[in-house]
């Protein structure tokens, strides 16, 4: 779907109106945002994406709350559940896998609308769109930055919170595995949702409505892995399906997110 510019100068945008209509910025970008910037001194290497990722991580740390926000929310939700459900450990341990996964999902959802909002407000997005860094790379870098600031800490903190909900000890390793495999999907899907709603005024509420249904498969398989782990059953099927979904999202959704960004930048 990406059109690479053939050498020489940047290919001029479509000559006549008919082609202009088809080549507009929806899926096929015109001359800008070419992956291979013709004539530029450096060929394309992954270092652009790394540059954006490192910058976002530095911003998250400097702005503070980058790492802590999702963790705090995760802790609060997990602590609140026993107050609502009661302290009966047998009940808690049965629902622990689901609660941990739903809390992780909501914590990831919390910080989605900040992904593109900062770059949109200070005008960095059009600059990134006209740089050699393809928008797909931008979407991937943003998803990775979101995962490192929210997905990763959640995964590492989950076992500790599992104890709060008296999660069966055999399930802890499966909890770690399922969250480690599932949270990247949450970040990439979330980045797609953020790209869709980047320009909108009250976009964050809409973002949750758009993204939550997309989280259903990951949630079902993720929680199922932990539940089977807790009951000593064999969780290979759900964990394979979970990994499959995550890999599919990582491979395809950056293109959808880039298309949405291109539309919003028009």
């Amino acid at each position: 779907m990406r059109r690479f510019c053939e050498g020489g100068g940047a290919e001029p945008p479509a000559a006549n109106r008919r082609r202009a209509a088809r080549l507009d910025g929806t899926l096929l970008p015109a001359s800008h945002g070419c992956a291979v910037a013709p004539g530029s001194s450096k060929t394309v290497r992954g270092h652009f994406v790394r540059a954006l990722l490192l910058r976002d991580l530095r911003l998250a740390v400097r702005a503070g709350g980058g790492f802590g926000l999702a963790l705090a929310f995760f802790l609060i939700v997990v602590v609140l559940v026993p107050f609502g459900v009661g302290a009966e450990t047998s009940i808690l341990s049965r629902i622990a896998p689901g609660i941990l996964w739903v809390a992780a999902l909501l914590a990831a959802l919390l910080s989605l609308d900040r992904i593109f909002a900062l770059d949109w407000e200070d005008g960095a997005l059009p600059l990134l769109a006209t740089s050699p860094l393809p928008l797909e790379g931008v979407a991937l870098a943003k998803a990775l930055a979101h995962w490192i600031t929210t997905g990763l800490p959640l995964t590492l903190a989950a076992p500790v919170l599992g104890i709060l909900l008296s999660l069966a000890p055999t399930a802890t390793s499966w909890l770690l595995a399922s969250l480690a495999l599932g949270t990247p999907a949450l970040s990439v899907i979330g980045t797609f949702g953020a790209a869709l709603t980047v320009g909108l005024r009250r976009g964050s509420l809409l973002l949750s409505l758009l993204v939550l249904p997309l989280y259903v498969p990951t949630l079902i398989f993720g929680a199922e892995v932990v539940r089977r782990g807790a009951e000593g059953l064999d969780p290979t099927t759900p964990i394979l399906l979970l990994a499959g979904i995550t890999l599919g999202c990582l491979a395809l959704l950056p293109f959808a997110a880039a298309a949405a960004l291109r539309i919003n930048l028009r």
Binding site: L209, P213, L214, V216, A260
Partner: protein, 244 residues
Amino acid sequence: MSIWEYANPKKFIATTGPALPWLFGAAGLCLSVGLIWGFFFTPDDFRQGSTVKIIYLHVPSAFMAINIWIMMLVTSLIWLIRRHHVSALAARAAAPIGIVMTMIALWTGAIWGEPMWGTWWVWDPRLTSFLILFLFYLGYVALWEAIEDPDTAADLTSVLCIVGSVFALLSRYAVLFWNQGLHQGASLSLDAEENVHDVFWYPLLVCLAGFVLLFVALVLLRTHTEIRLRRMRALEIRAARARA
């Protein structure tokens, strides 16, 4: 005259306009015949008793709920590739009808199951996938409403529809995996050996035809409205620019 000629909004209204009353008439006829036939003239099912009569609403509405989303997917693809406005507006017009059909499918599904399952709602895979489809519809309509520029809205909702369809399919099988079904087998599936008994079958087909005709009529009517709204907006912008 190729089919793409119909993409011109004015020509689209001109050609499909006169067909509307006929479509509504045919839909009304099929619906009333089908429902009355199914309601009054079919015997009770030995197991389910008279609740089997709900089949005449549940199956067509469930059938429509899925196919309206597929229609929206096709029109979104047409819009993204051929940039024809009528197809994007038709997708926008179809979504609310899809919501109503999904609500009917959910409502009748819950009521139909109540006597047998003993509760109003049970997390049966088929009913649950309709609940998820309902959420997708809500997100789709909400995105349309949230964006002012009609072109951007059409593009973004098309991308959402495409991605949403993939995830709807994923959810369908995730839900199947998650809870072994209590739902009755596919009453209309062609391969099912024990199909719906003939006497229930014909009224069901008539009802189905009624639902399809009603949808086509409604979506045409609503697409005309969307086209007129868009024309109004274009006229007002042009007038404003001419004055400026």
